[in-house]
Assembly symmetry: C2
Homo-oligomer: 189 residues x 2
């Protein structure tokens, strides 16, 4: 998606340690018009696949998933990272390892929100090691729903997550796929 | 907003302890078409007030704030609850007390995202004790921006937050304002 790639080139910030900061338009402040177009593009890519629900993880996936859900006119679910007093009853849960924070955490979805009649599209802002998406794939499997695939805004193509998911037979669409990055330069596929 | 009130009446679940669960359409699974209409209604209420940015707190405010930002064609910012490796540089921060969880937490916004030329609309899913919104008001004050007001989907009008904010001279718009609720019944203003 050229518009997103151009935005990353002009407004993204490279920090040491392969960190790409996109907080001025994608995951802290969000460019609403750009996000609407991202939603439209995800809807276009998965047109005709019968998606009934979009699934993501709080917090930075919510905006992308809502934009996709709006374009597809289907509900969006965000998995919660912590059990709270607002989640109850039977839940599907999976453990996710965060390389960013060096910890494991649980993701949870109330069981009555997903079932075998659903076709699910997993959406997130970033794909790097793929741990978050693998956790969501487990939740989809638990529910008995069909998985249409995954869509992410930015894939760090030099990390293993995307290849691992594709080798599992999962369709993965990345709107901007990074081949390599340094402290000064970013190269897309 | 009649559409939201009807949805709460049909799909909301009342639990002991004044808990209204709306996780099937507002803050766990989200009805994308309803959320688009909520965004349009917030935009209509604040039309002509010169809003340049919508501000909320992760996680359950993000969808509402994005929908409003899309309708108003302005960026949306979500304050982060925890400092992470993805937030850096100068930040505005405030302490928020959570009555739901019985703890205090910090909310933070990178300082370069808000400044004195901005007019900010604060958006959230719920307004009860008003602690989260007061934290955001402090962040707006720190930035020197003008505050247009606040917009929430559901106000628990029998709790003090809304009245306190209004007595501070802040415009507060609630799309559904609850007068009272019990374990079996919910009454709107």
């Amino acid at each position: 998606m050229d518009l997103l790639i151009e935005k990353i080139k002009t407004d993204g910030k490279l920090l040491p340690g392969n960190i790409l900061k996109v907080g001025s338009f994608l995951n802290h402040m969000i460019d609403s018009d750009l996000m609407a177009k991202i939603g439209d593009e995800i809807a276009r890519l998965y047109e005709g696949t019968g998606v009934t629900k979009v699934l993501t993880i709080e917090a930075s996936g919510i905006a992308v998933a809502l934009a996709a859900g709006m374009s597809m006119h289907v509900p969006m679910i965000f998995a919660k990272k912590h059990a709270t007093s607002n989640i109850s009853g039977d839940i599907y849960t999976a453990i996710v390892h965060s390389y960013t924070h060096g910890t494991d955490y649980h993701v949870a979805v109330e069981a009555d929100l997903l079932n075998k009649d659903d076709t699910v599209l997993i959406v997130d802002d970033f794909l790097a090691n793929g741990q978050a998406i693998k956790g969501l794939v487990k939740i989809v499997e638990m529910s008995g729903a069909r998985l249409a695939g995954a869509a992410v805004c930015i894939e760090k193509g030099f990390q293993k997550g995307g290849d691992e998911l594709r080798s599992m037979g999962i369709r993965v669409e990345s709107l901007a796929r990074i081949k390599s990055m340094s402290d000064t330069e970013i190269i897309f596929y």
